[in-house]
């Protein structure tokens, strides 16, 4: 415990409750409240109903949920593979080239996602790489956006990895590929799963680039939420948002369980 005196601890809790709770929890509670309502004219929502959820878990919305899950899963796997590969390659480079790699992978984070979306749209709208109009353009854009995060967390983990392990493995006669597969990747596994969770969550909530790219048969949930609120169906939109939240949280929970099983120390 960092703070020892009882008074200081109370003060700290008060600050937390007054400042952080409204900032973080209240908006989510509002969405949760709205998702069960038909009217909201007073302080609290009124006209409790489950109809919003019936709409949010069937037909178009259900399909959008699957779309989002498939997109996020595929994009995360692609991003993790590319990011890990790049981070491992960067670790073997000299200082200057590694800096250049770091900067390159910072780009999708530094550039607004609308710009990334536009870039992907322009790049893949013409043969030979004609992805426009297919689901793959959405997945590609998501992968590009989240690879940066995968790269960064894996690169950070690699620098923390004690070189004594791979050296011990090499001295025992293991080829570099064997060392990678049997020693380095297993030791990086906790960071890899953390990166996967981060990528998945980011992809599940991506809207701005998706808006510019999605074909009619591949509408992810955030687009649906935007469309619903845009046409004034606030309460239905809220219900879909809660479904999005719950789905993301469930997957993250599963990943974090995997992570505790994968950590050795």
């Amino acid at each position: 415990m960092l703070v020892h005196s009882r008074k200081a601890r109370w003060a700290l809790w008060t600050v937390f409750l007054v400042l952080f709770l409204p900032l973080f929890a209240l908006p989510l509670l509002v969405v949760l409240g709205a998702s069960f309502a038909t009217h909201w004219s007073g302080v609290l929502p009124s006209g409790p109903t489950g109809a919003n959820y019936r709409a949010a878990t069937r037909g178009e919305a259900l399909q959008a949920l699957t779309t989002s899950l498939v997109t996020a899963l595929t994009a995360s796997v692609l991003a993790l593979a590319a990011g890990t590969w790049a981070a491992l390659a960067a670790a073997a480079l000299g200082r200057r080239s590694r800096k250049a790699m770091d900067a390159l992978f910072m780009l999708p984070v530094a550039v607004p996602s609308v710009v990334v979306g536009l870039a992907v749209l322009v790049a893949f709208s013409r043969p030979p790489m004609l992805l426009n109009g297919t689901r793959w353009i959405v997945i590609t854009a998501h992968a590009v956006l989240v690879t940066a995060f995968a790269y960064q967390s894996v690169a950070a983990a690699i620098t923390r990895l004690d070189p004594a392990y791979e050296q011990a493995a090499a001295s025992l006669g293991a080829r570099p590929g064997y060392v990678l597969w049997r020693v380095r990747l297993p030791l990086l596994l906790p960071s890899l799963t953390a990166a996967a969770g981060l990528c998945f969550a980011l992809s599940m909530g991506e809207l701005s680039a998706t808006m510019m790219l999605y074909p009619p048969d591949w509408t992810p949930l955030p687009v649906l939420i935007y469309a619903a609120t845009d046409r004034g169906a606030l309460f239905t939109g809220s219900a879909i948002a809660v479904v999005l939240m719950a789905a993301t949280l469930l997957v993250l929970l599963a990943v974090s369980r995997l992570r505790t099983r994968a950590s050795y120390r």
């Binding site: 006669g173 293991a174 080829r175």
Partner: protein, 357 residues
């Protein structure tokens, strides 16, 4: 590609090996031969280049000049995994995600040893190090000494011709260390064909375990010889003080001996011309208190009680002389005039021009 099985026990040869990082020479033209089956200790303070020499054998640093040979194979340009060595490092580096048995089997699996053989070799290596009962444990469930044994078992399981030990005992506490020293000596008796390069900064480990000791200082090899040679007849001041600790007294050579602080000490001066300055090396535990041959007197500057012994620091003509004597019933007081003596055969005259430590 698995390294070829050794036909005959192989030694290690350093042939003018020089290693430099960013223009700084950390190992300067090392010439050293470890005979097959020999235990060679590389002894020196930190930064002396001893670990660099070991890493050059393992293949983790690339010499800018010189060759490294294992037996008659030139391994200078081979990657680490094709050198056929076993290595144990200070922090053990056991793979935390593998059980003890999988750690020990790692090198065998990497070399595609048949499964039936792996099992036998793992058991053998674990029995050799007394860890057979811990095969199913994870490294984090073992104590430091046990992890150390597993690390040694892992290195021995691949039956290396050469075993590299990099400060293997320095992470253990004093009591465990002396136990592991005896253990390593026993291992070497059971595996007489394995050449061992043992890097340490601890002279006790080197004196106990090594057939020969190579003393390193500031990237250079200072002296190399059997522990007895280096201890009894050191050839330079650094070796004398680093191996066993020593009084290094500045003397002037005379016809009948060496003059120190006005007293002529009877000591062999063969080859040194009278009038030249030199260094006289005497081990503190060979210096006695009271009258005797080669008597010198001075004032007691410092007295330490060390249980079984007393250490006296005596100022003789502006130089400090150390003496370790059996515990004194009535020790002299600080500032007292005391007499010291030592036998002529316990003193070694070192040529001048040899820099002090």
């Amino acid at each position: 590609m698995a390294p070829a099985a050794p036909a005959a026990p192989a030694g290690i040869r350093f042939d003018g090996v020089t290693v430099a990082y960013h223009g700084t020479v950390v190992l300067d033209a090392l010439d050293l031969t470890v005979e097959p089956g020999e235990v060679m200790a590389l002894l020196g303070p930190s930064g002396s280049g001893k670990t660099t020499a070991l890493r050059a054998v393992a293949g983790f640093v690339r010499p800018v000049a010189g060759r490294v040979l294992l037996g008659d194979r030139d391994v200078t340009d081979l990657p680490p995994h094709r050198r056929g060595i076993g290595m144990v490092v200070q922090q053990y580096a056991l793979f935390p995600h593998m059980r003890v048995e999988d750690n020990v089997a790692f090198g065998l699996k990497a070399r595609r040893t048949p499964k039936s053989e792996i099992r036998a070799r793992v058991t053998e290596a674990l029995e050799l190090t007394g860890m057979a009962g811990y095969a199913r444990r994870h490294p984090r469930e073992l104590s430091g000494g046990q992890q150390q044994r597993v690390a040694i078992a892992r290195a021995l399981a691949v039956r290396p011709e050469v075993l590299l030990l990099d400060e293997p005992l320095s992470a253990l506490d004093a009591q465990l260390r002396s136990g592991m020293l005896a253990e390593l000596a026993r291992l070497h008796r059971e595996l007489p064909d394995v050449s061992i390069l043992y890097v340490t900064h601890d002279q006790v480990e080197a004196l106990t375990l090594a057939d020969r000791i190579a003393v390193m200082d500031r990237a250079r090899l200072r002296a190399c010889g059997t522990p007895r040679e280096l201890y009894r007849a050191p050839t330079d001041a650094f070796t004398a003080s680093f191996v066993g600790g020593a009084n290094l007294l500045p003397v002037t050579v005379r016809a009948s001996g060496a003059e120190f602080a006005g007293t002529v000490i009877e000591v062999g001066t063969d080859g040194v011309a009278p009038g030249a300055s030199a260094t006289l090396c005497v081990r503190p535990h060979l210096v006695g208190l009271g009258d005797g041959p080669n008597r010198i007197t001075g004032t007691l500057a410092e007295l330490q009680w060390r249980g079984a012994t007393h250490r006296l620091y005596v100022d003789v003509g502006g130089h400090r002389v150390m003496a370790d004597v059996r515990e004194l019933r009535q020790p002299p007081a600080l500032g007292d005039e005391v007499a010291l003596h030592f036998a002529s055969e316990d003193a070694v005259l070192l040529p001048a021009g040899v820099a002090h430590g």
